[in-house]
Every structure is written in C-alpha cells, then in structure tokens.
Amino acid sequence: MAAIENGKREESVLRNAFGNVLSFFILLLIGILAFSIRLFSVIKYESVIHEFDPYFNYRVTQFLTKNGIYDFWNWFDDRTWYPLGRVIGGTVYPGLTLTAGTLILNSLNIPLSVETVCVFTAPIFSANAAWATYLLTKEVKGTGAGLTAAALLAMVPSYISRSVAGSYDNEAVAIFALIFTFYLYIKTLNTGSLFYATLNALAYFYMVCSWGGYTFIINLIPMHALLCIVTGRYSSQLYIAYAPLVVLGTLLAALVPVVGFNAVMTSEHFASFLVFIIIHVVALVYYIKGILSPKMFKVAVTLIISAGLAVCCAVMAVLIAMVATSPTKGWSGRSLSLLDPTYASKYIPIIASVSEHQPPTWPSYFMDINVLAFLVPAGIIACFLPLSDASSFVILYIVTSVYFSGVMVRLMLVLAPAACIMSGIALSEAFSVFTRSIKFQLPALLQSEKVDAGETSTDTAVTQTDAAKPAKSEEIVKERPSKKNKKKEKEPVEKATVRSRIQKKLLVLPLEASVIAILLLVLLGAFYVVHCVWAAAEAYSAPSIVLTSRTHDGLHVFDDFREAYAWLRHNTDVDDKVASWWDYGYQTTAMANRTVIVDNNTWNNTHIATVGTAMSSPEKAAWEIFNSLDVKYVLVVFGGLVGYPSDDINKFLWMVRIGGGVFPHIKEPDYLRDGQYRIDSQATPTMLNCLMYKLSYYRFVETDGQAFDRVRRTEIGRKHFKLTHFEEVFTTHHWMVRIYKLKPPKNRIRGKTKRAKSQKSSSTTSTKGSSRKRNPWQ
C-alpha cells in the first residue's frame, strides 16, 4: 500500500514537473508569437517609428540617452509651442522613455541605435504583457485558463494596433504595467504577503510613470475593495493588499513630476482615499468585534457611528470645499469626458477632434476583439462558479472597461486584456468540461466496441473511473491552497468541496455533443487567429508616414511626408519656425528639427485656436497672424491629387471650430453651405478665400486642367488664383505636403499721406494698428 502511495506521489511529481516544463515552453512560444506577430510592419515597410506621438517619444528618448537623466528632468523644449516652449521633464510620462533608455545596451558595446530600440520596445513589452496575463489569470482560475488568456492576449488586435513594431507609445508599456499591477494585487489578495504588496506598489509606480491611464487602477482597486467590504468578504488579506498600495503608491506617484501633487489633490484619486478610510473603519470594527462580547459590541457600534459620522461629515466638507475651488471640480477634461460622454463635444472641441477620442462603432468591437466579444459573457459566468475575491475583481474589471471602451475608442485597449482573461477562462472551462466528458465515455465506448459480451464489466469501469475522477480533482484543488497562507486554507477547502459537489452534479455531456463542441471551439479559435494575423498584417501595420498602394503595375510608395521633412531639415535655417496644424507638430520637430507653433500635446487651446484662425482667415489676415508669431514657413497636407483622405481640408472644420471657440469672428456657418461642408463651386466665399483652401489648391488646376479633387470627388470651386502674401517653396512628389514661405513685408509707399504716417511710426506698428480688429494674437 505504501509503495503504491509512493509510486503515485512520484508519478504526480513527475506529472507536475512535466506540466511545468510544458507550460514554460508554451509561455515561451506565446512570447515569441506576441513579438513576431508585431513585426509585420518592419517586414512590409521598414524599421521606422510610426504615426505622431511615437515621434515625440523617440525624440525624448534621443535627448535622454544623449544628455542624461538630470538634463532630462530639467529639459525646457524651445522648439515647440513657439514662443511659449514646453517643460518636457515635468509634462511627460517618463516610463516609456526611461525603459527604452535603459534597454540600450551600451555597457556591452552592442551598437544598437536609439531608433532600433524604440521600434522594438513595443513588441518586447507585449510579450511581457502576455506573460503578465498568464500570471493574473492563473491566480484567478488556474494554469489552463492562464495559458489560454496569454495566448489570446498575445494576438488580440486591439493591443496589436497600439504595439506593432515602431509604435513607440506609452500604451505599449502601460498595458503590461496595468496587467502586472492587477496580478500583484490579486496575488497579495490570495497570499496576504506584504512582499507582494510592496511589489504591487512598485508596479503601480511604474504604471504611473508610464501612462495617464493609471487612474483606472487607482479607481478600480478601491472599487473592488469596497465591493469586498460591502459583500462581507473583508479579510486581513484585503487590508494588506489595499492599504500599503494606497500609502506607498500615492507617495511614489507623487514622485513623478507630471503627477506630483495631483496624486493627492485631484478628484481622480479621492475614491482611493475614501475607501482607505472605510477599510480602516471596517478593520477597526472587526478588531473590536473580536475583543468585545456581542452586547458590548452593540453599544460600541452606536457610540462609534455617532462619533464617526461627525468626523466623516467634517472630512467630507473639507474635501468638497477643496474640490469646489477648482473650476472643473478637480477633474481633468479627459476624465470628465469619460464620466459624461457628451462633455467633450460640448465644451472641448480639441479633445473631441481627435478621432481616437470618439465613441467606437459596433464593427470596431468586432475588429478589435473579434470572437472574444462572444466569449466574454461565458467567462463572466465561469467567474461566478465559484465566486472568489480574484474572480470578482476580474468581473469588476471587465464591466468597467466595457463602459470606458464605449466612451472612447482609445480605451478599447484597456478592455482587450480583460476580454482576453474572460475568454481564456471561458475557453479553458469549456475545454475542461468537454474533454472530461470525452474522457469518461471514451474508454467505455472503446470497450463496448471491443468486447461485445460483458456489459457488466464496462459498467464497473465507468463507475470506477467516475469514482476516481472526483477524488483526483479534489486532490488537485487541495494542492493549490496549500501553497497559500494557512489562514486561507479553510475557505478553499470549503470551496473545493463545493466545486467537487458541483462537478459531481455536472452531468457528463454526451460524447457526440462534446466532440462537436470541441471542434466548434477549435474552429472559433482558428477564426480568431486568422483574423488577428490579418489585422496585424493588413490593418494595423501601416506606419502612416509611408503609404503604399498596389496597382496593376506594381507597388507605389508615397514617401511624401519624409520628403518634406527632410527638405525642411536640410534647406531651411535652423531657427526657422514652421506653422502647421497640430497633428504634424511632433513629426516636424522630430524629423525636420524645426521649431513649431503647436504640436500634438495640445496643452494650450488658445495657441491652437490661433493657428486654426490663421488657417481659416483670408490670406492677408493669416499673414499677419503668422508674421506676429514669427512664422517663416507654413506646411499643409493635401491629398487631393493622389486621394489621401486624412488631409488638412478634411480636418479643416475642426480648425474652424477650435479657432472660433476662442476668436468669435470665425464662425462655422460661414464655411458651410446649407449645413454642408463643400469645396466645389457651391462653396461659400469665405471658404474659397480662406488660407487653407488657397494653400491646398494653389496651381492645382494645372495638373490635370480640371482641378478634380480625388478625395472629395469633385471639381474645386475656385481654380485660378494667385497668392499675394505667400509663395510656394516646396511641394512633394505626390503633392501630399506643400510648404509655403511668408513673403517679406512690403516696403512700398503708396501715397503722401501714408508716407507722413509711416515716417512717424515704424511700418510694423502701422500694420498692427490697421489690423487690430482682426489679429487675435494680441
């Protein structure tokens, strides 16, 4: 008997070891998958930084590696937001750049350029994120669910869209930090270990360094803690998981310059403090309950409630007073637009103008999380069987992130890990049910086929396996809690018995049904994989600074943006100022190394409105605005010749709106004919005379004689006109970027009266005087 026991134990040890090695290799493969699925952009295009914001991060990283960390904190950038400048060190989330900066292996003399490191940071961190997902899901529902969730996350399109090679943005690192923070929280919750609690605070610190989305963590975890308290699941583990995080995390968060005192002053963080107070009150109540008799306890409760209420009221009053002093009630614009989806479109056009801040459409859910959308409900149900602290956290996570993703497309990214975890749980539970039912019936089936006579023996076999299985599952379930804290052991054992009872109750599904169901699930998974690969290869890999189009005579490359930036970089003076719409600000500073007026940081609405006003003003007024800003070149993006849809004419209404929001003489209806935005012969005179129209279509008619705009699919309204205050200095090969130079002010003197005037005052003041009404920049 003992020998058999020993053999069994040995076998289980071997099996465990085998399972560990297997899951290690699966994880390794998942990491490779996560990394390599994101390399489509490098293979199809080139190893280059993508889009807009990554260029800023790239520039910051270059500065960091060149000048060191101390100069970085004190960096005042005078090449953007001219003439205001920007304090980079204090307004940037440094996590990403510091990470990439340390990745550069200069100590080993490996000549990796900053660009290479920046390009591959995102794929590396998505592998990390997949592993973090495994850890988190393993804490919630075991290894199988963890592996499934990690594999799903490695290729979820929503996350790929933000982390393809070259997409060097905060989110790439932040999603890993987010999941890892959640994992450590759950781990602390399950073990009650202070070690993990400290790690949790550090992970939270890393998240704060990385992304503004850290407020999601600092609101979600208090919500979960509150949920646990309200549902009567308060335990010392919860206290250990929560209290150190708030204290340490807030202290650490305040160290990040961009957060600073916001960590204690803004409303985004108040929920955590409130729950911090509540959890202490609850802890005190539990403590007192433990040392007092029930009768005394009742007395104490009434006493404390009356006193506590008074204190609470006082604290609340102070808080409310503090919050009320700030104009936005302590909430930042983006947070407010999260709570009230209509807020941005009503008050802040600059937030509403960004396409990634729009609410998503239904197809985008299917595009971004694909079949996970259908698996999530099943995962939620699986989380309720049985409900633990960890699974309730995951449920809370998915519910909140579904809401947030419904407000902003961008936050689909937060939903993706939750959806992956849920689907992972759902898939692995489903698989375990189906495989178990196959496993129960398969031997029976085989035996009945082999042995015709001997039904009794098969019956006993079934019962034997049936009896053996629950015992085994009980064993497995028991094994897990034994690693955990001893205090917790009672509960899991109870849980385990509950589960085994459920398993006993669970009818074994018919063999055919389960086989078909497994096949269908595999098919579903295959569909998901195909979709993900397609999304990674086709939809999300375009770097957006290089465009390609495939025609019957081969591949055409449109490299106009870099052509224009390279021209600016080499053929203009180093201190020249370039005005463009803010979308191109980061790229201009990073690629052309020229000073810009506004950029993608959009911290100063008035400044952006000034540029918007200039673009929507007639030539002369625009010249005056630009001249007062010391601008020498104006850059516009024009897609009419080749049919590039996201050009400045299509963005123009936002310029009008943002400009008109600050300078009321710009009125949106002036640019619309019967509420319609058009540039053909029906367009309004204001539209046809504004600077943006003129700079976009200057001499456009000479290309085909028709002036047919391929984006708007119409002939333009005004074809022949001359520029009086601007001159064309560069247009790229496909006309996608056009650069104009401001003509120098004229020094011609018209009449005698004017001469007398101009003799008194200098020419600049006279132009100022005459344009006082129109020039908003004063």
Partner: protein
C-alpha cells in the same frame, strides 16, 4: 641593378637641387592645352615638348599655377607616352609640390621628375593632367527655377610657366554652344563648343593674360561636402561598408519659388540645372545594400549588379536645386576574400578603393575609417598620394580592448583618385574565438549559478 637603383635614389635630391638652380635652361618647344569644362570638375590636359638648352642634364620639370588655381587643384598627374598611336602606353611620372623662393605673385609649383634626366640638347614629350574643383563660378549667383545655369571660368590664355615657351595653343571645350561671352586674346577662334586661343609664339616665362569665359553649364554640380566611409573588417567573412554623405548642389543658388507643377510638366526647361539621380559604382558581389537617412529608408534606389560591377542608382528624397543639401547613408557588405589578402611577410592587408563611389562628384572632405578586428596589431596604411593618418579605437559587439581604427583624411578628392590603397596589420586567429568563448562561459556560469541556487536552501528559519 639594385646598386644602381640605390645610386639613383641617392643622387635624386642632389640632381633635383641642381636642376632647380638652373631651371631656365629648359624651354618648351611646343605646348598644347585642352581644357574640358563640360562637367563641374575642370580637366586640363597639357602636352609639353621640352628641350634642354642648357649644358647640364635636367631631371625635373616645373609646373606653375596661379595661387587661385592652386587652391582648387585636386589632382596633378604626369605621364610619358611611348609607342605608336594605337599601342600607346603611359608611364606615370612622380609629381611633388614644391616651393620656389623667387616665385612671382605667389605662384605655386609642382615638380615632375623625369624618367631619364634630359641631357643637353635633347627633347622629351610628356603629358600632364590637372583637375580643378570649385573653379566654375556661377553668375548670376542665384537663378530661378526656369533659368539655366551660367558660370564663369577664369584662366590665362597663355600657359603660366617658369620656362620660355616657343609655341602654344589652348583649346577650351564648353558643354553647349551657348557661350555668353569670352575674352579675346588674338588670335582667338570659336567653333561650336570649342574655343581656341593661340597659337602664340615665343612667350617669356611667367607670362599671364587673364581670360574669362561666361557660358552655360547645366551639368549636376554634385559636391559631397563631407564623406565618412567606414570599412569594418570581420574575419568571420565579410567586409561591412557604411558611407555617410553630406551632399550639396554647389551650382547657382535656387531663388524664390519651387513649383512642383512646372517641374513635373516641363522637365526640359524647368529646373534644368538641378539633379535627382546619382550613380554609385560599387564592387561586384555586393550584398545587403541599404540607402537611408536619419529618418528612415529612402525608397527611390535601384541596384543593378553583374559579375564585374554593381551599379547603385540613388535618388535623394527631393531633387537638388542650387544650394540645396541632403544627407544620406549607403551601406553594403562585401565578401572578405575579395579584399583581404596575406602579404609575403605574413601580415594581412585590406585592399580597397580610395575615394567616393559616386560618379562625377567632388568630395570636399573625405574620411576613411578602416576598422580592424579586435586584437590586430601594427596597422599601417599605404596610399598612393599624401593623406593625413591617425589611429583611433572603437568599441563594438562585446569588445573589451577595442578595435583599432586606421583613419585616413583627405580634402578635395576627385573621382580620378578612386585608386586602391592598402592597410597592413597582423592578426592572430585566436582572437576570433575570444568573443564566442566569452559568451559561452557567461552562459555556462549563469546555468551553474541557477543549478547552485536550486540545490541550496537559503531560508532563514526552517518551517
């Protein structure tokens, strides 16, 4: 034989001193000069027939240049032609810059050492090639997109020489028939694209007669302001070359508007002096070629390669007009066995071509860095013309002591100077294994540490 050679080498300085002292004993019987102005590199072919009228044998012949020309002089080559017309072979002669104490108006000199000293009364014929850079001055200095480029060329109708010249003629070839103006020094004649000055007879030493030619030249004035070529030698089988270019259009500056519509619709008239292609001649069997700049790959390039040569046609991101600049990097790999050899004394040497692979370009400042493998010693470079040399150390993949870098620097380089040069060094094959061994031992130690960690108990209290 050897003794005689030694004797010649020993005697040469003395002879040269002698010949300098009585330079005027030589006289030029006939001089013909052909100046080629078709590209932006001015090429001057001189043919001299020299007679020794003195008593002592002369072994040196002096060329004189006005100081303005001397600054732009990139190359002086002299050769003696032997054989008949079809089977002409050229024997190169040594040319060294020299100083003369009594040179009038700061004229600069170069001395040609003749193959055989010219005895009294003998005559010799030899040819000289001069290449001048930055010698065409655009006028007007700024042109708009639709104008073509006009340039000035300054020279003397009479060859500047410390010798008496009996007879001389100068032919000047212009790229097109459009010549706005030219100085007349009779007899002067112009036929088609050729201007003829002379023949002039019996001109005294140091005669000078300035001329200006104002003509159209729309050839690309492609100047590489700075070129850094890095040649990295790896004994694992490849030679990696990285070339950093700073390219400029050194012609008349572009003024005012650049209109893309005109440039695209009227390519023959508009922007005629601008250029958008460059051709680089790379060695055969070139692989992994890339062409990029600081913001990424430049997609407009074509590589054609066959067994004898590789041609890389590159287009900068935008057409270059006068005064416009562009920077880019070209990199490629080459098989090592084509360029690394072992010399008879056991040392190894890299044999690579000096100069810039781009055709028809001038390099203002050329830096060649030959990165030798880690552990190589006693590097020395052999270049057929004077260059500045020094050594550096660079660090790359897992280097500990660093790699020796031989740096060669030269200004004003013309395509004619794309001749091979050699870098000699000694190298022990053991050093090739140093880095793999280092990596292997690091991993080994890591695994040993892991194994040790798993087999030891570090807990403070036994539970």
């Amino acid at each position: 034989m050897e003794a005689r050679l030694c004797l010649i080498f020993f005697l040469l300085p003395i002879l040269s001193f002698l010949s300098l002292s009585d330079a005027h004993d030589l006289q030029i019987v006939n001089a013909e000069r052909r100046i080629d102005l078709t590209s932006h590199i001015v090429k001057v072919f001189l043919t001299f027939k020299v007679e020794n009228t003195g008593t002592s044998p002369a072994s040196e012949f002096l060329l004189a240049f006005p100081p303005a020309q001397a600054d732009h002089l990139a190359l002086v080559k002299a050769a003696v032609a032997t054989g008949k017309k079809k089977k002409k072979t050229y024997i190169p002669l040594d040319v060294n810059p020299t100083e003369l104490p009594d040179a009038p108006n700061g004229a600069k000199f170069a001395s040609i050492s003749l193959k055989n000293p010219l005895n009294a009364g003998e005559t010799a014929t030899f040819e000289v090639l001069l290449e001048l850079t930055h010698s065409l001055e655009p006028f007007p200095a700024e042109i708009s997109q639709s104008e073509s480029q006009l340039v000035y060329y300054h020279d003397s109708a009479i060859i500047l020489s410390p010798y008496f010249i009996k007879q001389q003629t100068t032919f000047i070839k212009t790229p097109s028939t459009r010549v706005e103006s030219f100085s007349r020094v009779d007899p002067t004649n112009r036929v088609g694209t050729e201007l003829k000055y002379g023949p002039y007879a019996d001109r005294a030493p140091y005669s000078f007669s300035p001329i200006i030619i104002h003509f159209e030249n729309n050839n690309p004035f492609a100047v590489v302001e700075e070129l850094v070529r890095e040649i990295e030698v790896s004994h694992w089988g490849s030679l990696q070359i990285t070339e950093h270019y700073k390219l400029a259009h050194a012609g008349a500056r572009h003024k005012g508007v650049f209109s893309r519509v005109e440039y695209q619709s009227r390519p023959t008239i508009s922007g005629i002096s601008s250029f958008k292609h460059l051709l680089a001649l790379l060695p055969p069997r070139v692989h992994s070629v890339y062409y990029r700049d600081e913001i990424g790959n430049i997609s407009s390039s074509h590589l054609r390669s066959d067994s004898r040569k590789s041609e890389l046609e590159i287009e900068p991101r935008y057409p270059l007009f006068g005064g416009w600049k562009a920077t880019f990097v070209i990199g490629y790999g080459l098989p090592l066995q084509d360029f690394l050899f072992e010399s008879p004394d056991g040392r190894r040497y890299v044999n690579f071509s000096f100069g810039c692979p781009l055709l028809e370009t001038v390099v203002d400042k050329l830096t060649i860095k030959v990165v030798l493998p880690e552990g190589s010693q006693d590097p020395s470079a052999e270049v057929p013309f004077p260059v500045e040399q020094h050594l550096e150390t660079s660090y790359s993949y897992l280097d500990v002591v660093g790699r020796t870098v031989v740096v060669l620097e030269k200004t004003n380089v013309v395509p004619e100077q794309n001749t091979p040069f050699q870098v000699y060094y000694t190298f022990k094959p053991f050093f090739m294994l140093a880095e793999p061994l280092m990596l292997a031992s690091a991993f080994f130690l890591f695994f040993v540490a892991c194994v040790a960690y798993l087999h030891m108990d570090f807990s403070i209290s036994k539970s």
